[in-house]
């Protein structure tokens, strides 16, 4: 339709005096806007795909404590740290000279492997042999076990919780700081603005990965330290700049002047008027920050630089250091974890993009 702006001179606007309490009107409006936004979001398949994946991972993360609590899983076997399936799987195997000759890998074994594992036998011997970890997926371990005999699915679930915890904490710290900094800088301008913006420049300058490596060298760098650190970097850095420009566009709106004329003090104007209007965009950046945080953690863990008990990145790191990395035969050690990082980070990003098309008026095509 004709979207061009035309003075409203030809129209007459009727003002209704509300007879309901203000909060109900507000709640109603909020609900309405949520409903219409949800409709828009739903139409955007991309965002929906992201949301579905996020929910799936949330379920995965929540399932683990339930499995332990209900006794479906025994902590001695399924604990991600000390869990260890000590059941013994015995196979009777003939010793051969080379696995290439092996027709049935469950009944024949390379003599060199036995030598490497400290047993000296001759070709042709038949031995009783315990199947060593990692075990391929079976009904006890849906995604198999790792070289230490602990369950991959359980680790994956734990990792999901770690990723959510880290990602969301980092994102909220980022957005909390960025919203505050952005609004304050936009509203007060002057040296406050200069200070924060130069500080943001400084943070943008940092080689992020290198800085994280330095930070993780401090030895006792825990997951939540990382989350807050990432949150600070993002919150005072790039996100603050984006949100400041949003706050600037809100600041020039008439209702801010009105509030000022009405005698609102600065702080109240910032908290009651500026920040709420920057909020929608902030929420968008929550999504993108989560993506960044999850990837950062995974990279650091992958490089073996974080001293944490379990995470998806660490699962890959452990696979690599134990020598199972480029081995298609033990795919369950490397594929689920890598895929999980990719999917969850991607899902938050997709959901963010979905929201972007709603929140960012420049992208709306209607």
């Amino acid at each position: 339709m004709d979207t061009k702006q035309v003075p409203e001179s030809l129209q007459r606007i009727e003002v209704q005096i509300p007879d309901r309490p203000l909060w109900r009107i507000r709640a109603g409006l909020l609900w309405e806007s949520f409903k219409s936004n949800w409709k828009l979001f739903k139409r955007n398949r991309v965002g929906l795909v992201g949301l579905v994946v996020i929910i799936l991972f949330a379920i995965l993360g929540l399932a683990q404590p339930i499995l332990f609590a209900t006794g479906v899983w025994d902590a001695k076997i399924y604990d991600v740290r000390t869990g260890n399936d000590t059941r013994v799987r015995i196979a009777e195997m003939t010793v051969v000279a080379n696995v290439d000759e092996v027709i049935d890998p469950t009944s024949q074994i390379d003599r060199r492997r036995l030598i490497a594992e400290g047993e000296n036998v001759q070709v042709g011997d038949v031995i009783q042999r315990e199947l060593k970890h990692p075990w391929p997926p079976d009904r006890h371990h849906l995604l198999g076990t790792d070289p230490n005999g602990s369950d991959i699915l359980s680790q994956l679930m734990y990792g999901a919780r770690a990723a959510f915890g880290l990602g969301l904490l980092a994102a909220f710290v980022t957005v909390f700081i960025a919203t505050t900094v952005g609004s304050v800088a936009a509203y007060f301008g002057g040296w406050v603005d200069s200070f924060f913006m130069r500080f943001a420049d400084l943070l943008l300058m940092l080689p992020i990965l290198a800085v994280l490596i330095v930070a993780s060298s401090f030895g006792r760098f825990k997951l939540w330290h990382l989350a807050i650190f990432l949150g600070l970097l993002g919150g005072f850095g790039g996100t603050a700049i984006v949100l400041k420009s949003q706050a600037l566009s809100v600041k020039v709106k008439p209702f801010i002047d009105a509030a000022r004329v009405a005698g609102g003090n600065n702080w109240r104007i910032v908290t009651a008027h500026l920040i709420p209007n920057v909020m929608p965009l902030s929420f968008l950046y929550v999504m993108f920050s989560v993506t960044g945080a999850i990837s950062s953690e995974a990279v650091l863990s992958f490089l073996g630089l974080l001293n944490i008990q379990m995470s998806w990145g660490l699962m890959i790191n452990k696979t690599q250091s134990a020598g199972y990395l480029l081995n298609p035969a033990t795919w369950w050690l490397i594929v689920p974890a890598g895929l999980a990082v990719t999917l969850l980070a991607g899902a938050f990003y997709l959901a963010g993009r979905g929201m972007d098309e709603i929140i960012n008026p420049r992208l709306r095509n209607r």
């Binding site: 130069r198 300058m205 940092l206 990719t342």
Partner: protein, 402 residues
């Protein structure tokens, strides 16, 4: 009627003032960055010497004190900082602690060409492909395939990169065996080579730069030609001459066999970097294009009877190029940081690996030099991005002066 110059850059003094102001800001920022980096690196528990010598029980304790003294670590921290800063700003980057006593500048000179080689090629492909893909994606908005391409693009953009790289190695290097798994040269080829690998890479880089610059600039210039036919001819000519010249240059080059070896090793890392990086460029371009396409001037261009391709390329894309080119400049500035993972995965001994190793081994002179290098690159990158923005968007030129 030669020349109505409205170009703000020729007006001199306001821009000059702007540059000076920015330069002063940059210097201050760098000093803060430098000091903070030093403090952070210094604050890491332990030190390089402890790491090297502490775990040899046969060593007398004097060995450690002596090693510390030789590196100036026996002095109080503030004095160390002062001495180091003084030397740094007079051009002396000091000697490495973990590879004592090799000069830091030598280590960097050794690593830098490799990183530049890898990432210049990768960035070239990323931006060429990403920009084109983003253009088409925006143009196809809400059409079939857009969602699929977007999801594929986002997946590549957010893929857990180290893992993805390893999977690609597994597929293309291990299973299919098409490309080498890692490294940048093969010993057998280089045995008795009359030239160092860095030398060959420098030549490769500049020849590539020359060809890219030639083709790019000629194509750009051709868009100013009036007749479509001549325009096409010049464009094709540029490619033929550029690539032909490139071929001729290398076909007759005595180092061809070495360059080929490096090129073969470049294939996989560059492909993976391109796959991961182009998606980001594509998404930026798409967003930027979508914004641009809502502008009235795109309608104007259509009303003028321009073909869709011309509207897209000359008007929508030209304007959408702004954020993309800015991101290119910033990408160049973060190459070393990004190199950490890529270089670790593909065994490419460049600046990224040097940075990682130096931080892990607490080799402060090397780490600080690498940090400073990235910091300077980032500062110059931001500066260049601003200037570039001004060049590409005439609206900014005026405001940046005022």
């Amino acid at each position: 009627m030669s020349g109505y110059h409205a170009n703000a850059f020729t007006k001199g003094s306001p821009l000059g003032r702007y540059v000076i102001k920015r330069f002063v800001q940059m210097v201050v920022l760098f000093l803060v960055f430098f000091a903070l980096s030093w403090i952070a690196l210094q604050a890491i528990p332990g030190n390089s010497i402890e790491q090297q010598l502490r775990l040899n029980p046969n060593l007398p304790p004097e060995a450690i004190t002596q090693a510390l003294a030789r590196r100036g670590l026996d002095k109080p921290p503030l004095e160390q900082f002062w001495l180091y800063t003084k030397a740094f700003f007079t051009g002396d980057l000091g000697v490495s602690w973990s590879r004592y006593p090799q000069p830091v500048s030598k280590l960097i000179a050794e690593r830098l060409p490799r990183t530049v080689m890898l990432f210049s090629v990768a960035l070239l492909f990323q931006y060429l492909i990403g920009f084109q893909a983003g253009k088409y994606l925006a143009w196809r908005r809400n059409k079939r395939g857009e969602i699929a391409i977007t999801i594929a693009g986002v997946s590549l953009f957010t893929v857990f990169y180290p893992w993805f790289g390893l999977m690609m190695i597994l597929l293309f290097a291990v299973k299919l065996g098409w490309v080498p798994t890692n490294g940048f040269i093969v010993e057998a080829t280089w045995r008795g080579a009359p030239v160092s690998a860095n030398h060959v890479m420098v030549i490769m880089f500049f020849s590539l730069l020359a060809v890219t610059a030639f083709i790019g600039l000629t194509s750009w210039a051709s868009s100013r030609l009036d007749q479509p036919n001549r325009r096409r001819l010049v464009k094709i000519g540029a490619w033929v001459v550029g690539l032909g010249g490139f071929w001729l240059f290398w076909a007759t080059n005595q180092y061809l066999v070495y360059a080929k070896d490096v090129a073969v090793h470049l294939v996989l890392p560059v492909s993976v970097l391109t796959m991961v990086g182009f998606a980001g460029v594509m998404l930026i371009t798409r967003t930027s294009m979508l914004e641009t396409m809502k502008e009235d001037f795109v309608t104007t261009a259509r009303a003028k009877g321009l073909s869709e391709a011309m509207v897209r390329d000359r008007h929508a894309a030209r304007t959408a190029l702004l954020p993309v080119s800015t991101s290119l400049v910033l990408a160049v500035a973060t190459v070393i940081d990004g190199g950490i993972i890529t270089e670790s995965i593909f065994g490419w001994p460049g600046m990224g690996q040097l940075l990682l190793a130096s931080v892990v081994s607490e080799d402060i002179p090397v780490a600080l030099a690498a940090f400073s290098f990235t910091g300077i690159l980032a500062l110059l990158g931001h500066f260049a991005a601003d200037i570039l923005y001004g060049v590409l968007d005439p609206r900014i030129r005026v405001t940046s002066q005022g």
